[in-house]
């Protein structure tokens, strides 16, 4: 039974949880995440290392490691509740058909002993049942879109530069023409000019194919290149979900505020700040607000779990915004 929701959103996530079992206990990597994404839109998930942002990507794509424990919540994708699907149906109908992913270590995620073309063509052969030469035709088309010369298709990964390899991986994610691509730190290993180039490619693809993006990154400055919406993640939870314009002008949550104040800028004389202390362990997160130990605005209320308050359409998980409920 597949339940459909009345929403016209491309992706809607409700109370998604993904916990991992380790020797010391349970790591609550994704702990109750809600957000929505429109068609042909983009959201940036910002967070520091260890906040669970990559686990969130895995939870959405259901790429679970063996030690995954609790995996609950609702994921509606294109009006379909995909959490109801069994693993085989999910693999057949959703992963790489509806949504695909550019993994974090994209540079190392190509198979070194296969030609690039075979790897880019493989998803369409598996999912769309195309013959090899048709699939190669698709791969050739995708290479034009991402701006790599076609003759690179017959080469092996080691013959390509970092930027070229990154583009090939993007072509691989794009070849089945999915509605959603999840990008996990797509440019963090690349040079400045290459990085700018890749973002240009992604923006162009969004215009041409109407693709939506979830960009997962810790790099606030470059994330703005692809941000229509911003979600800030801290210790397994989203603490602020906002639109880019308001987020980059004046973020609401104290953590977002601090993060923005730590971004080095090319102009102006603003002093940089840093956040003292380190994020809490996800093995045993503190009760109440998870940011309270590092927060300059802490008060009594912070020992209770903050719900999500909505202020002018911005969702923020902080007691400071209580009166706006």
């Amino acid at each position: 039974m597949v339940t459909t929701s009345a929403t016209d959103k491309l992706l809607r996530i409700e109370d998604l949880k993904l916990h991992f079992n380790v020797n010391q206990g349970v790591v609550q990597a994704v702990d109750g995440v809600d957000f929505e994404l429109d068609n042909n839109s983009s959201v940036v998930i910002l967070g520091e290392s260890g906040c669970g942002k990559s686990s969130l990507a895995k939870a959405i794509l259901r790429l679970l490691p063996r030690n995954a424990g609790t995996y609950t919540g609702k994921v509606w994708f294109g009006g379909q509740d995909v959490m109801q699907l069994d693993d085989e149906a999910f693999r057949r109908n959703v992963r790489w058909v509806g949504m695909s992913m550019v993994p974090q270590a994209a540079l190392n995620s190509l198979n070194p002993v296969l030609r690039i073309g075979d790897q880019v063509a493989e998803p369409v052969m598996v999912h769309h049942g195309l013959k090899k030469d048709e699939a190669w035709g698709m791969a050739r088309r995708m290479f034009q879109h991402v701006g790599v010369p076609e003759d690179f298709l017959i080469r092996y990964p080691f013959e390509l530069s970092g930027g070229m390899r990154q583009r090939s991986v993007i072509a691989m994610a794009l070849v089945t023409l999915p509605n959603l691509i999840i990008l996990d730190e797509p440019t963090s290993a690349l040079d400045l000019l290459t990085q700018a180039n890749i973002f240009n490619v992604l923006k162009r693809l969004k215009e041409e194919f109407g693709t939506s993006y979830i960009l997962i990154t810790h790099d606030i400055a470059t994330s703005s290149e692809l941000a229509e919406n911003v979600a800030v993640m801290y210790a397994g939870q989203l603490v602020e979900v906002s639109d880019a314009k308001r987020f980059f002008t004046k973020p609401l949550h104290p953590y977002s505020e601090k993060l923005m104040a730590s971004v080095p800028r090319l102009h102006g004389n603003a002093e940089l700040e840093f956040i003292k202390g380190s994020p809490p362990s996800l093995l045993n997160p503190p009760t109440g607000c998870r940011f309270k130990a590092r927060c300059p605005h802490r008060f009594e209320k912070c020992d209770e779990d903050p719900p999500v308050f909505i202020k002018d359409g911005i969702k923020v998980r902080c007691w400071l915004y209580e009166e706006n409920l």
Partner: protein, 354 residues
């Protein structure tokens, strides 16, 4: 030690170049690597560093900015005494690095110059505790007395603010956070009281909030101990919080050198301008348009382009000169030099705003 402030401001450079004598003087340095086929037949050279000159004064912080493959790592390794010099000279104080014998070179490498690696986790041996990691350079340096060594280790740990020391001294690298690991790496570079520290992308692997903390620490150390820093990076936006001078490197040569403020507000070389344009500021308007990026990729250093090495990607290139003759260093003003034909009297200056 400076007091624990939580902010870090932009480096202000006074009108004059840094006071004091040269610690490092590099003249027309060339570092080429031989390419061989089947192990014996020479087939050419990789011109990794091809005619670089600069001076580093005592207590000064400079930054070398460039993309991967521009030769900045080869330059760094040569300064650290790890690469052979093909041509040109490096003077450390009054000593010529080219002529140092093995023993002097070892003394130079182990006590006079420190190195902060990019990836702190990769740079720390996983089977050693913080104490052993920091003791090792002292043992190699010949400090025999155990208590003296321990005192120095504790002092260095306090300097990089790994406090309370007892909480960290017996930990293994995997037991501490990335920012703390980078502090251990900095403490290791510092432990022999070197004159120069070379930091290769010291903050690129760290989270935004920790990044500022580490930069602030390095600046405090530089000011307190009067250490000269060479900061190697591809990120122009962190540079202005750390160094006084910026050298932009492209394909083995320095394209432009200037005071930090001048370079960022008044770039002259088309490549510097391209780098600045490509750097993102946190601004929602970025998502609304496309960035202008020069076409192509950096050239191969085996057979670099003739003339100016940036000319195949440069939209201001003048045929007949840029693709034929190597541009000289043209002085724009005191301390601001650019290797670009466009600033020669015979040609017209480019208008980047257009």
């Amino acid at each position: 030690m400076t007091d624990e402030s939580m902010t870090l401001g932009v480096v202000q450079v006074e009108g004059q170049k840094h006071e004091g004598e040269n610690v490092l003087d590099i003249r027309d340095l060339k570092v080429w690597f031989e390419l061989r086929r089947f192990g014996f037949a020479r087939t050419g050279f990789v011109h990794a560093v091809d005619g670089v000159s600069f001076e580093l004064k005592r207590g000064e912080a400079i930054a070398i900015v460039g993309e991967s493959g521009c030769g900045k790592s080869s330059l760094m390794k040569t300064i650290l005494g790890l690469n052979e010099i093909t041509d040109g000279e490096i003077y450390y104080n009054d000593m010529r690095l080219n002529e140092m014998n093995k023993k002097t070179l070892r003394w130079y490498r182990s006590t006079q110059i420190g190195y902060v690696q990019q990836d702190p986790y990769g740079a720390l041996p996983p089977f050693m505790t913080v104490r052993r990691i920091l003791e090792e350079p002292l043992v190699v340096g010949g400090m025999k007395d155990k208590t003296e060594r321990l005192d120095r280790v504790r002092q260095a740990m306090e300097e990089v603010r790994l406090i309370p020391v007892n909480d960290y001294i017996n930990k293994f690298p995997h037991q501490i956070s990335g920012g703390q690991q980078q502090r251990v790496v900095i403490a290791r570079a510092l432990i022999q009281n070197p004159e120069i520290i070379v930091a290769d992308e010291p903050v690129s692997m760290l989270d935004a909030s920790v990044r500022v903390e580490v930069l602030q620490l390095m600046r405090a150390l530089q000011e307190d101990h009067n250490i000269s820093f060479i900061y190697i990076t591809h990120d122009l936006s962190t540079v202005r919080y750390f160094s006084e001078y910026i050298f932009v490197m492209y394909a083995g040569r320095i394209a432009e050198k200037a005071k930090q403020h001048d370079l960022l507000t008044n770039p002259k070389h088309p490549y510097t301008f391209a780098l600045l344009t490509a750097t993102s500021e946190p601004d929602y308007e970025n998502a609304l348009g496309f960035k202008e990026v020069p076409p192509g990729e950096p050239p191969s250093l085996v057979q670099p382009p003739k003339g100016c090495r940036f000319h195949p990607r440069c939209k201001y290139a003048i045929s007949g000169i840029c693709d034929a003759e190597v541009p000289p260093d043209i002085t724009i003003e005191e301390g601001h030099e650019v290797a670009c034909w466009l600033y020669d009297e015979r040609y017209e200056e480019p208008d980047f705003a257009a």
